[in-house]
Subunit: 480 residues, 2 copies
């Protein structure tokens, strides 16, 4: 007799879920690492794991919040600057018993107020702290909102393809339907509203009601920044089709060009004025894991709700309550992120130097990587305008595709596994994010240290060009 938790008796939605960022490639990389091979983990946007140093000031503040007894120590000033001490006292005063006490399930009211003030400064429109919920990272917030929306397989969620697999995995887990809309690689991963309408029409013909649309801006894995005009089209589309917009804006600080700065979906919505600005339901997500912070391990994030009915907000609050509260230390990181040191503060210069250094280096790395990929045989790559990833297209020769099939692998998985074995570079195959039929990619972060980057790109190029040499038969590439 099979047991309750045997594989065949598990929730089918659990089994259906795929999460490539920590999938076959990651598991193989972990094995190789155990065997002593040096692995460059570029499968996940995890900057500190690749040597990025934490920003000093926020770490000082949170350390003091963890050890509040230090605040009374006459020697505290020897290790901590006065503004970190003052900030720690401020944040402790916002808690109801320090970092060890559960906060309200939506997060500390004082931090939510700071987030609202940040949004107002950023967008030029007031924001209501009561509509901001702090979360254990942005992913948890996305999962919670999708859970409220999805009732079954007839509920569709528009997701860009290529997409970040949090979306496909969560939609599977909740038993909903992913409705893909394709980003156009030849137009620098732009979004085409025509293709969006087509996706909705096709979903409808299958009995699926499209209830929400996900945008990732800047794009993951694709790295593009959405223009204001594009955001307006999207919001108009949401208005006409009665669709909630889920704005994944976790990379809003990660911008590597000046032509298309980050602009929030909320600002564009407000700029559009009534009736649209009062109608379109929008949930925006942010995190402490990205930007120049990269505090992934702390697990902090928020979502802000716009034009969501108060009764629904209550339901979302109720569901948040079940897990009691997001972790409190990360709430303080969030407060610090939206309210960093200001000119004139003791710690301002250091904070500014550190954060500027990280962003400038990321910008350089985005260029080194894109240029490196474009110098490789059969590889083409759009420039990383924002976010933390490069998503080159790998034009696999037919013989390579055959070789992959003969060992039962998807072609890009085959390529990425060979790359891993040869170089230790751990990437994620494009098939984990979705791509057009017959087209192959890989995703890598741009996070390896700047000084290591040339060697990594050399190692990639050597592997790739030999791979192509081996499998190319001059009868043609895989189609674009």
């Amino acid at each position: 007799m099979s047991k309750s938790l045997d594989y065949e008796n598990l929730n089918e939605n659990v089994k259906k879920c795929q999460y490539a960022v920590r999938g076959e490639l990651y598991l193989r990389a972990s094995e190789l690492q155990k065997e002593g091979k040096k692995i460059i983990f570029t499968n996940v946007g995890n900057p500190h794991a690749l040597g990025q140093k934490p920003l000093t000031f926020p770490r000082q503040v949170v350390a003091l919040c963890q050890a509040p007894f230090l605040l009374d120590d006459p020697n505290v000033g020897l290790l901590f600057p006065a503004d970190a001490i003052a900030k720690a006292k401020h944040y402790i005063s916002l808690t109801s018993g320090g970092l060890g006490a559960y906060s309200d399930s939506r997060g500390l009211p004082g931090v939510r107020k700071e987030v609202a003030e940040f949004i107002e400064r950023r967008d030029g429109y007031p924001s209501d702290p009561e509509l901001i919920f702090l979360t254990d990272g942005a992913s948890k917030g996305v999962m919670q909102i999708l859970q409220s929306i999805i009732r079954g397989a007839h509920d569709g969620i528009l997701v860009p393809v290529p997409q970040y697999p949090l979306y496909s995995a969560t939609i599977s887990l909740l038993g909903g339907s992913l409705v893909p809309y394709f980003l156009e690689e030849t137009a620098n991963w732009g979004l085409d509203i025509g293709s969006l309408r087509q996706s909705v029409a096709q979903a409808r013909s299958q009995g699926i009601t499209v209830r929400a649309m996900v945008i990732i801006n800047p794009g993951n894995p694709t790295g593009q920044c959405l223009s204001e005009a594009n955001l307006k089209e999207i919001l108009n589309f949401c208005y006409q089709n009665n669709v909630v917009l889920l704005g994944d804006e976790v990379y809003q600080q990660n911008i590597y060009q000046d032509e298309r700065p980050f602009i929030s979906a909320r600002k564009v919505l407000m700029d559009m004025g009534p009736p649209i600005s009062k109608a379109v339901e929008l949930v925006s997500f942010h995190t402490v894991s990205k930007g120049y912070w990269g505090e992934c391990g702390q697990r902090g994030g928020y979502f802000e709700m716009t034009n969501i009915s108060p009764k629904t907000v209550e339901e979302i609050y109720k569901i948040s309550s079940i897990s009691l509260s997001p972790n409190v230390p990360a709430q303080i990181f969030m407060g610090l992120m939206v309210n960093p040191p200001k000119p004139g503060d003791i710690s301002y210069d250091q904070f500014h130097r550190e954060s500027k250094g990280i962003l400038e280096s990321l910008r350089k790395r985005a260029h080194i990587m894109t240029d490196g990929f474009n110098s490789c045989r059969n590889v083409v790559c759009n420039f990383t305008e924002g976010a933390m990833y490069s998503f080159p297209q790998i034009r696999l020769p037919p013989k390579a595709i055959e070789a992959a099939k003969s060992v039962g692998k998807v072609p890009d998985v085959f390529y990425c596994l060979k790359l891993l074995e040869a170089t230790g570079i751990s990437t994620v195959p494009g098939s984990g994010f979705g791509q057009k039929e017959g087209v192959f990619h890989l995703r890598t972060t741009i996070l390896p240290a700047e000084e290591d980057m040339p060697a990594i790109m050399d190692s990639f190029k050597k592997f790739n060009d030999e791979f192509m040499e081996q499998y190319e038969d001059y009868r043609g590439y895989s189609r674009m």
Copy 2:
């Protein structure tokens, strides 16, 4: 036209969920607090919010992990003892980039090893770190396991009544069926195997397959400790009925009597020997939020799987991956909890003094509270053998029940609201946990500071006895 996220369009399972610990009473208490009333929050086991001081040593270690640059500071020894510095270096070495890097989705391998060693010391049987997953608090672990089990309304989960509403809420959310089994108040909240069999038979007659059974030991809200004999009966029952046992053992350090020490379900299972010890599927949960730690706001926990098939473990790992990793600071708290300072360590004496002080005081408070309740008119209360709660039965007079009905309130909600308005004591009505028809309770934590306890109990008694005076008509009590 209604919008996508309007209340009527939400996931019905979201709407069905109830979570009384942060329900009507808590919301009203929060309002009163905003209006300036002094509220004693005993609705949730949140020790630091009621003045419990954090243990010094673990906070020193985690503060240093947050601010690793201090480890190189010549003055660090002025603020931190040498063993805290050594421990911080140890835990940083277990991460792959400090607290800011995502860990493996199961948690840091080094911490999972420490948890396994703790379980082995506690139970006398080896434990495998690969079967231990760290989580953002025990609740998140429970939710994840239930998600793997529940496929639909025909899947039943046996839950004690009264229960901790995490279980009822999560089962609702996942669309499963809660199958209640009743704890016997007159037998000090003991579990009767006969009633368990009856529950299963009744569920079967309704087409429900019972797939898992929850035990909470020590009990929440009921405070009883399960005896070894009782645990054996339960495990035999699980074996015979092919049911996974979910052992919520988060209060294992909170024991206030010597007759029935905590004994883990896993130890009893192993003691029973084959075939049972090799067959019964068991998942055990633990946390840093309870015990003498009370680090609720950090959100740290683990679950350990016994006799779960490797393929299922892989699926659970995959689902964990979607939210990338539990927060890393709380993983270190977990490491410290299972591996605290030892005799001879610099910090041992202080750590021992602090933790002993907390437990001894909780033991005293358990007595003050039980005795206090039993001195009140129409109130009877079992002694809190363990956990953090007192769950007195309030024998409401018929006139009080009528008065409640006339304002549309469940009688115990009516009582608890009046108590809140009169005294500021914020409790949770028994109806939030489940109770036998016509019997009423409330749950309060035993966490208010020892020195405040007599005044709180006086205030409760004054309110209760006046309430009873007002509503009693000498025609009899509500039935027991």
